[in-house]
């Protein structure tokens, strides 16, 4: 499971209960689940959830997950409505993800793969950019809008 927080101390989780994949909103202030919905998408293979980001413009949750099998490893990109569980975007990216970061202003996700490339994917177009080769093994990424 993975999660992220908003500015009202609501924590959003992509988790699992039994056989169902869920999106949950948990209020840290009230220590209770605010929303809990099964994801509308039926995944045909096992996934490993990697990370998620909150899109401040739409309130949607951007999730990244890896295929648990297959070569090369596929990365699943999904956009989820945390107030309904609806998966309104689901894309397969043919990259083996090692790290990611989210720029909430430009609304783009940065992705790094095992070959030392960086990519971007826009939340508007959902088009994966060509690889930007850095030649390093990138194991973590983070975006700062300030520094």
């Amino acid at each position: 499971m993975v999660g992220t927080i908003d500015d009202k101390r609501n924590y959003y989780l992509l988790a699992k209960a039994g056989a169902k994949h869920l999106v949950l909103t948990y209020s840290i202030i009230n220590s209770q689940i605010v929303h809990m919905f099964p994801l509308s998408a039926a995944f045909t293979e096992d996934l490993i959830p990697l990370t998620c980001y909150l899109d401040p413009q739409t309130g949607g949750l951007v999730g990244l997950a890896a295929s648990a099998s297959g070569t090369p490893t596929t990365t699943f990109y999904m956009e989820i409505n945390p107030s309904s569980g609806a998966v309104y975007t689901l894309k397969k990216l043919s990259i083996s993800l090692t790290a990611s970061a989210f720029d909430p202003v430009e609304r783009r996700v940065y992705l790094a793969d095992t070959a030392g490339n960086l990519y971007t994917i826009s939340l508007d177009s959902h088009i994966l950019s060509p690889p930007m080769p850095f030649g390093l093994n990138i194991v973590s990424l983070a975006w700062s809008n300030t520094f």
């Binding site: 499971m1 101390r9 096992d46 202003v105 973590s140 990424l141 700062s144």
Partner: protein, 168 residues
């Protein structure tokens, strides 16, 4: 012609926004020596880098605490404190490390004694790093304001600490 001029303006605007909106940081590993015969775990250094996009360049801003070895899963986690400039990431044995991107130096190591760390996020409203973790089989959230540990909240049991999303 009017269409061409409008297109050029749009491209210029996008470029300006892209360069002004922020900075991408990362933890990267690179071999200490280019000699393939010396390739080993101990021949790898880890450092925090600042990426110049789309210039395909990076700057090494701090050697990390772990100068050899490998970051273990979930190594891809990372979050930046947009107030003080601390970049938090997860190292071996689920310890949280931080590099300050302003002074370009390592700051601290925090051990939450977690069995597993799933996510790290920065809570701007409370100036805290919020960590989703598993401890003694229970999923919990930990808050670390100013890098010091203050609280751990166990999540409701329905939130199982399952990973991956495989069928039961």
């Amino acid at each position: 012609m009017a269409t061409r001029r409008q297109t050029a303006c749009a491209v210029l605007l996008l470029f300006c926004v892209a360069t002004a909106s922020g900075t991408l940081y990362g933890v990267v590993s690179a071999p200490v020596s280019s000699d393939p015969s010396k390739a080993s775990v101990s021949n790898v250094q880890l450092f925090t880098a600042k990426f110049d996009l789309p210039g395909k360049r990076y700057a090494n801003i701090a050697q990390n605490f772990i100068k050899m070895g490998q970051l273990q899963v979930p190594s891809m986690l990372g979050a930046i404190d947009d107030i003080q400039g601390n970049y938090f990431f997860v190292g071996d044995d689920n310890v949280i490390l931080s590099t300050n991107v302003i002074i370009e130096a390592n700051q601290a190591v925090y051990d939450l004694y977690a069995d597993k760390i799933f996510s790290t996020s920065f809570d701007s409203a409370n100036k805290s790093l919020v960590v989703l973790l598993q401890e003694d089989g229970v999923a919990a959230l930990a808050a670390m304001p100013q890098g010091s540990f203050i609280g751990l909240w166990a999540l409701p049991p329905i939130i199982t600490a399952s990973n991956p999303w495989s069928a039961p």
